[in-house]
Amino acid sequence: MMQEAALFEYILRLSDDSLILGQRLGEWCGHGPILEEDIAITNIALDLIGQAISLYDFAATLEGQGRNHDQLAYLRYENEYKNALLVEQPNGDFAMTIVRQFFFDAFRLPLWEALMQSPIEQIAAIAAKSVKETRYHLKHSSEWVVRLGDGTEESHQRAQDAIDHLWRYTNELFYENAHDHSLHAAGLVPKLEIIQAKWNQTVKDILAEATLSVPAHNWKFEGGREGRHSEHMGYILSDLQYMQRAYPNMEW
């Protein structure tokens, strides 16, 4: 029972990360810096929404209370969302969006790779599908980090500003609590310190190639994983939940 609750929370983090980042990327649709990139960002958003659906479906079966993926995605209170603060940060300029994506992808790829080995069949299956998507996302976001970093003076500055700003939200990606420890003990999910080492390496390599620097400051924020979000979250939810709240119990 304890373990099911822990697993439920774990899956919610994965699905909420995907949903909220997908929601953010959806805001770009129609406003991208060039048509080709508009289409590329939407593709990433679609992958993330697809992941969220599979993950919420699984979370719902774990919970066993008869909720479906939409009820989990749309009808929780803000403090019940377990996404990292990073993914709810505003799109900002294209550099902010790309750096946010890159930090996230660099975390998600090794995580999916590890989760493919999970003895829990459903998780391994979702990971096997998502790993391909995420590998592509990381390729795309890294390539853009390099282009912005090593592009013009302006793009370099914007990319560096985005890195400096978002850095404070990266540590939380590796948040763990007592629930995680019980999952580790059972060998169900990987320890995040392994993922963090890989993340550090990817970030170091790509920023070096991009002629960008890793911030010196160690100013870190946490809270999302425990349901304490930034001020942005309420606005995200008021859009996301608008229809479900304004027209309760209807089918669309």
């Binding site: 060039i34 080709e36 289409i39 593709n43 390729k139 390539e143 282009r147």
Partner: protein, 95 residues
């Protein structure tokens, strides 16, 4: 070309194993890497391909339309290159 416009690329897609890459359209991209990625997102959203070629449009050389007659018409009269030119008695099989 203004400083911000990306070069034009032509996109060729192999839709499945055993078929040639076929021209499907064009797009704009700053370099070959992004041209391939853009081609993936623009031209294979519905599993239309398993392999993509891109080539910068400026690098394509084409026959001159004014020379089309001298380029292509001389072969029209070489009908002996086609199997139907030859008569084979009825009853000959596998030919």
């Amino acid at each position: 070309m203004s400083t911000s416009q990306w070069p034009l690329w032509e996109v060729f897609i192999r839709s499945k194993q055993g078929l040639n890459h076929k021209h499907v359209g064009s797009l704009r991209a700053p370099d070959a890497t992004l041209a391939l990625e853009n081609a993936r997102d623009v031209y294979t959203r519905r599993s239309e391909g398993i392999s993509i070629w891109v080539v910068e449009s400026a690098h394509i050389h084409a026959t001159d339309i004014d020379e089309a007659a001298s380029f292509f018409e001389p072969s029209d009269t070489k009908i002996y290159r086609h199997p139907t030119f030859y008569e084979v008695p009825d009853g000959v099989k596998h030919m």
